[in-house]
Amino acid sequence: MSIVEAATDEAKQRGVNVNAVHLRLGALSGVVKDALLFSYEVACQDTPLAGSRLIIEEVPVTVFCRHCKQNRVLASMQSFTCSDCGTPAGEVVQGKELEVFALEVEE
């Protein structure tokens, strides 16, 4: 699992132990939070990350509204429209992230 690999590599390079992995997960990433949390423990078995926690920060979808010329957070994944004026807005600015953005480490 790439999340475990990424964190293990980094921990090795720094010579530290990892207590927790912080992950940014976009609503459009195609990955389900619960499934990740469930599989994390299994993926960590027999790796230096065994016993560490996965902390997920969910990122909502942000689109650019051409009418308002503003970025807007989508109110619903079923409706790609501006939350302010209702104009259809398909340009995704944020929400596809699947990124390990920080590690909580101990020497």
């Binding site: 459009l28 195609g30 790609f80 990124e99 920080a102 590690l103 909580e104 020497e107």
Partner: protein, 226 residues
Amino acid sequence: MSEPRLVELRRNVLKQNDIIARGLREQFRTAGVFVVSLVSSPGSGKTTFLEKTLTLLQPRYRVAALVGDLATENDAKRLARSHAPVKQITTGTLCHLEAAMVESALQGWDLQNFDFLFIENVGNLVCPSSYDLGENLRLVLMSVTEGEDKPLKYPTIFNSADVAVITKNELAAAVEFDWQAARQSVESVRPGMQIFRLSAKTGEGMQEYLDFLGERLAENRAVIPS
């Protein structure tokens, strides 16, 4: 022992896939081949649609296909009836194709011999959305028997695709398919998305879609610096 501390690390989890996909895209560009991937739920008619596409394109274009499946090689056998070069990628337990699988399946093929390469993904509306395969165009298929609200149930895959294809239109009347409702569903998760409504079985609507592919190929070649 010191206190736990936080170190920042911006690392895209799918970076490895994205790097390979970028390489593939460059390879496709240099060879002048236009690559179309197909995603849909199982049973929406991807293979029939692709078989028809390969057969109808062949008088004018050189075509080839890669087809992903969990276990069997049945799809490749069906597609081979079109007489186009076809390779099966058997994914085992994996529910989607990844760029590395495409890369290794392409070994032994000279891409310059093709105008179009089609990549049929594993039937799944969830996982394939996250994996870039280096394609120029991603088609998402839904059949009229699946219900008009499919895009609302799977917004991520519809949002990751470029074009929607509504298949099995010959069954539309029998299942009382509501075309307006389907169009609205697509529009609400992917505003402005082009939709083709067709029947691979009867051929209805196929020509419009084939013309579209031809135009996209020509546009794509026009931007390649000689």
